[in-house]
């Protein structure tokens, strides 16, 4: 059981580091395009990756995933509002 | 531990005083003088001088009324120290610290009004001097926040140390108080910016720093009123440790 928990935490770290690496190489993966929609594709990816990492930290490291449900709801709502708001502002401004 | 017997009369005085503050300071600054929300630091010298000249009487009336209102802040804040002192063992350090910081907050809120009154006092004063007094008042009003923040920190420390059956303030409100303290501690950035969210009229230096303590105070008031209605003995007899 000890190892199970340890492994889970390690996997979360590995995932976080992988998503970070993905953010780092993303500019090479998403070629720049001339149209307005395309040029925001990279930014959209970066914002989604960032908030995915945030959610992983909240749910697994902070253990909100197994916590008192209203607490989890409040923090998931924060991720949705903060992340969604950031994305919307980025796309529409 | 200092225990005060029947606290209800003083709580009443404190609540009435705070109502006086809200009324006098709120009406004075927001409605009569028009100083709040703060004017932009980007306004030019002629614009500010014109503001003082055109609204001479209402500015003086509003600022004076608001100045009177600031004194009424103290009874409530000293009342907070009474509750805090019950929790503290030995010398009530944090209670006294809170009360002194309350005085600092009151002074830094009140003194700018006197500076602005000086700016408005003579309408034939040069624009440059009016502008400088205007800036001086705003820097003095908006920048200092350590007193206010320390009040909340001291209050939170006492509240979180309260190990009684029913603490005088719920723990979550203490944590929220720490958040308010953190929020107002960005105001030292005011002198750096004439524009943006950290300027004296900005989103963080003014709006968040103004709204968050008021929100917190409202939550505290609701809690206290519920306790009073519930007839809690702590308010009338002091508490057995």
């Amino acid at each position: 059981m000890t190892n199970l928990n340890h492994n889970k935490l390690l996997w979360v770290l590995v995932t976080l580091l992988s998503l970070t690496a993905l953010s780092w190489v993303a500019p090479q993966l998403v070629p720049p395009t001339s149209n307005a929609m395309g040029s925001k594709a990279l930014g959209t990816l970066l914002i989604l990756l960032a908030f995915s990492k945030v959610r992983l930290i909240i749910v697994h490291f902070m253990e909100a995933g197994s916590a008192y449900p209203p607490l989890r709801l409040a923090f998931e709502a924060w991720v949705a509002i903060a992340g969604g708001g950031t994305l919307l502002l980025y796309l529409y401004l | 531990m200092i225990i005060m017997q029947d606290k209800r009369p003083l709580i009443l005085v404190a609540i009435v005083s705070m109502a006086m503050t809200i009324l006098l300071y709120g009406v004075g600054m927001f409605l009569i003088a028009g100083y709040l929300p703060p004017p932009s630091p980007m306004l030019t010298e002629p614009e500010i001088a014109a503001m003082y000249r055109d609204n001479h009487t209402s500015i003086i009336a509003g600022l004076t009324m608001a100045f009177l209102g600031t004194g009424f802040m103290l009874p409530l804040w000293v009342m907070a120290s009474v509750f805090m002192a019950e929790v503290e063992e030995g010398f009530p350090y944090f209670s006294i610290m809170q009360a002194l910081c309350a005085l600092a907050t009151t002074l830094f809120t009140a003194l700018p009004n006197l500076i602005w009154l000086a700016a408005a006092f003579r309408i034939d004063r040069s624009d440059e001097l009016i502008y400088m007094l205007h800036d001086l008042g705003w820097i003095m009003w908006a920048t200092p926040s350590w007193g206010f923040a320390f009040q909340f920190i001291c209050f939170a420390i006492c509240g979180l140390s309260d190990k009684r059956e029913t603490p005088f303030v719920p723990r979550w409100l203490c944590y929220l108080g720490l958040w308010v303290a953190a929020g107002v501690l960005v105001t030292p950035l005011v002198p750096f910016f004439t524009d943006g969210p950290f300027a004296w009229n900005g989103l963080f230096s003014f709006w968040v720093a103004f709204i968050s303590p008021n929100l917190w105070s409202t939550l505290l008031a609701v809690y206290v009123i519920k306790r009073i209605k519930g007839g809690q003995s702590q308010l009338t007899e002091g508490v057995n440790a």
């Binding site: 970070t20 509002i81 502002l89 | 009684r164 989103l203």
Partner: protein
């Protein structure tokens, strides 16, 4: 007999209820609901949510201003040391792992494991500050500072406020390290351990977003 001692990885309600909890009033405080619990205490989560909400405003303000001054922000971003930013991200993510492992150790009454992981967390945090100092130093040497232009004001203010959060977190972690030396003390302070580590996770997740927005997003 304490059942939980055979199951060190279970989140133990019994062990995680220090003496202070017994004296609190029931309603709004620690209210574990069948199976679900609150690591640390409720009040702390409220603080974290409130602080994170302010940072959400910071994120939105940054994006808003980026749209107002796109060239300036592109230029400013290009002048940042991206590698150091990435390094700091890796450092903080790792520190969160160590902090989570420290809580795991504390729950399993593994004093050595707890202390080692707290030390690693602090080491990472200190490393973050060193990297930050180097980064800021590079900017100051180039004559760039908080009032240089909008981009730099947001860069310095937002990462600066975050840095203050890191310093506070390191102070709390150091307190844990210096005062919790035995299994009994760890048991008594379980809520504080969880709370401090929760705060540290918040510091980490805020940097994750700041890094993406300030260093990477165009």
């Amino acid at each position: 007999m304490n059942l939980t001692s055979q199951n060190p990885c279970a989140t133990t309600d019994i062990e995680a209820t220090p003496a202070s909890l017994e004296t609190r009033s029931s309603s709004l405080e620690q209210t574990p609901v069948s199976g679900a619990r609150i690591p640390g205490e409720l009040g702390l989560w409220i603080f974290l949510l409130a602080d994170m909400s302010i940072f959400a405003l910071y994120f939105w303000v940054f994006i808003w201003n980026q749209s107002l001054h796109p060239e300036q922000f592109l230029q400013g971003q290009a002048s940042l040391n991206h590698s150091l930013g990435l390094l700091n991200t890796v450092i903080l993510l790792s520190s969160s792992y160590f902090a989570a492992m420290a809580v795991h150790g504390a729950r399993g009454k593994n004093v050595a494991g707890f202390r080692r992981n707290i030390q690693l967390t602090i080491a990472c945090g200190a490393g973050f500050l060193v990297v930050k100092a180097i980064e800021y130093g590079e900017k100051f040497d180039a004559g760039l500072h908080l009032a240089s232009n909008e981009f730099y004001s947001y860069y310095f203010v937002f990462t600066g406020i975050h840095m203050v959060h890191v310093i506070i977190g390191l102070s709390l972690l150091s307190y844990l390290l210096f005062s919790l030396t035995t299994a009994e003390k760890i048991r008594q302070q379980m809520a504080n351990i969880e709370g401090t580590v929760l705060y540290w996770h918040m510091v980490d997740l805020l940097w994750v977003v700041l890094f993406s927005l300030i260093y990477l997003l165009q």
